[in-house]
Structures are given as C-alpha cells and as structure tokens.
Symmetry: C2
Subunit: 199 residues, 2 copies
C-alpha cells in the first residue's frame, strides 16, 4: 500500500488547480507563492513542477478552462432550447441560469476570470479573450432576439453590464449570509431580466 501519499495522477493535478484557484482568488496571483499552493495540497513547493510547467501555466489553464466552460455551456444551452423549439426568451433564461450556477458554485473562478487576465502571457491572454468574446456574442445574439429594438452595440453593453451584475456574487455576503442558494439565484435572475428589459 502507499505509505502516506495523497491523490495521484490527474486527480492530484485537479486538486492543485482547485487550491490554486482558491488562493489566487483570495490574495491575487502575485500574492501567493508556489510553496503555499503546495502546502495547501500537502506537498511542498517545487513538487508543483511535476504537474505544471510553472505558475503561469496554472493560471493559464484555470482561465482558459473557465472561459471554455462558460462558452461551451452557453452554446449547449442555446442549442438545446432551439432544438426543443423554445422561444428565444427561454434561451436567455437558460443562459442566465447557467451563468448564475457557475457564479454561485465556482466563486473563486469567477473572481479570477476578470481579475487576473492581465497576468497572462500574450498568447494565453489572446485565447481567453477570444473565448470570452464568443461567449459575449452568443448572449448578444439571444438578447437581440428577445429585445429586437436593441442595436448591436447597445446589446453588447447591456450584456457586459449584466455580467457585472451576475458576477457580483463573490461580493455578496462573507460567510454564510446567503441562506438559501435558490433565493439568491432567483433574485439575480430577476435582476438580470429586469436590466435587459430596461435596456
């Protein structure tokens, strides 16, 4: 049997990423050292390099992963709604719900997502921005179907603003002040719809 080691292989990788995301969100990319990340998973310091090429690579993987998940999930949701013959309004609701789920379940990632983009190297930053842009454009298309009066520019501005609204989740409540998740999700959903309706 293994003498004392923790997870191994890709599981260890995921564990490191999870803890790194938490720490980066808490204290910023430059605010946390690799030793701390190692300590958070029970190994120490340079062992990280058995799993990642470096600190930058971890951040890049996190940010690309977030952006991909958001975009792919959004595409999937819109496609599902279309396939089931639902109206654009249902697609918008689905997009909002998906984004809220993500924001509530992966706070740390949402925080990182727009806080630490600047720390990436040019190539990675370009990729993340492209994914983000595609996600935004997906929303813009649906929003303009639901609110045909909106110009593309205005719709895009609305989408960015609503993202800001939805991503405010990490600022809501320190410890346990969000008693039921359902209630918070519903509120955010209504606020987002209200904002779009007013746009």
């Amino acid at each position: 049997m293994s003498t004392r080691a923790g997870p191994t292989g890709p599981a260890r990788r995921r564990q490191i990423l999870r803890e790194a995301a938490r720490l980066f969100a808490e204290r910023g990319f430059h605010g946390v050292g690799v030793d701390e990340i190692g300590a958070a998973v029970g190994i120490s310091g340079p062992a990280i390099y058995r799993h990642f090429a470096g600190k930058d690579a971890m951040l890049a993987e996190l940010l690309v992963g977030i952006s991909s998940r958001l975009r792919d999930g959004g595409i999937q949701r819109v496609r599902d709604c279309e396939a089931r013959g639902l109206p654009p309004s249902a697609a918008l609701d689905s997009l909002i719900t998906g984004h809220i789920d993500f924001a509530l379940d992966d706070r740390a990632l949402i925080t990182l997502h727009d806080r630490e983009l600047g720390q990436l190297q040019e190539a990675d930053r370009k990729q993340v921005r492209q994914l983000q842009r595609q996600y935004v454009e997906l929303w813009v298309g649906v929003v303009r179907q639901v609110h045909p009066g909106l110009s593309e520019r205005r719709a895009r501005a609305c989408v960015h603003a609503v993202f800001g609204l939805l991503n405010s989740t990490p600022h809501l409540s320190r410890p346990a002040s969000l008693p039921d998740r359902r209630e918070t999700a519903d509120l955010l959903h209504r606020l987002a719809r209200g904002a779009f309706a007013a746009g």
Copy 2:
C-alpha cells in the same frame, strides 16, 4: 529658477497617486514596482519615499480616498434631495448618477476599489470596509423607500448586484468604443433602475 524639476509639494504627491492608480489598475498592486511608478512621473525609484511611507501607504491612501469620496458624495446627494423636498426616487436617481459619473471618470479607481482590498493591512482594510458598508447602507435606505416591498436583506443584495453592474464600466470597450459618454451613462442608469424595479 528650478533647473529641471517637475511639480513640487502636494501636486507631486497627487501626480504620483494618479499614476500609481493607473498602473495598479492595469497590472495589479504586486505587478508594478516602485521604480515604474517613479518612472511614470519622471523621477526614479526611491524618490517616492520622500512623499509616501511605502508602497502599502499609497494603496491605502488610494482606497480610503475612493471609499470616502463615494460615501461622502452619496450622503451629500441624498441630503440635497431631502432638503429640496424631492421624493426618494429622485435621491436614488441622484445616487445612481453620482456612482456612474465616478465609474466613468475614474475607471482605474473603481477597478482598484474591489480588486486590491485584500492587499491592505488589517487596519486600513477595516477602515475601507467600514466606509464601503456605510455607502451600501445609504443606498439600502433609499432603495427601500423607493421599493417598500423589499426586505433589508434583499435590498442589500440588490444594491451589491447593481454596484457590480455599474462597476462593469471598465470592462466596456477597450480604447474609444464608448463614443458618447452621455449615452453610456444613460444606458447604465436605465439598467440600474430596471434591476431595482425587478428586485
């Protein structure tokens, strides 16, 4: 006459703070060195220490300044509306307008405001948080007058979310894509009102 020097006294201080805010917003507090801040104002490196006790002190002054300006401006606006016998709805509009002006005119500061709070020392962080809390409570009071159905908890959640919406300004448009400021400000104002109305 002075041989070659730039501004002097408190003017130089303000100049340093302005450039530091810009750089911190661009690359994060830990991502920029004092040498760069000095270079941005035409002096080099340790000359900063003639004006500030250290890098931390600069950030603290920036964040306390932002929070104070927001809170004091908000209090002033609400008081003005009350003094002129205007309805709560006018006070809310005034709060929104003031916040948008700030967000549009001082993007860097808005960015810093919730990105770098964690880098402060405990004492400063406590002060900033207190100012922020007072600002939020000011909004909550007004919002609950305008929308009496809202519980305090829900109103607070709405206010946080709307802050997220209004503070999304830095994410809107890279270079010059906000053609007229007026239009952007109006849009954000309507979105904020729409969100509150839906809360």
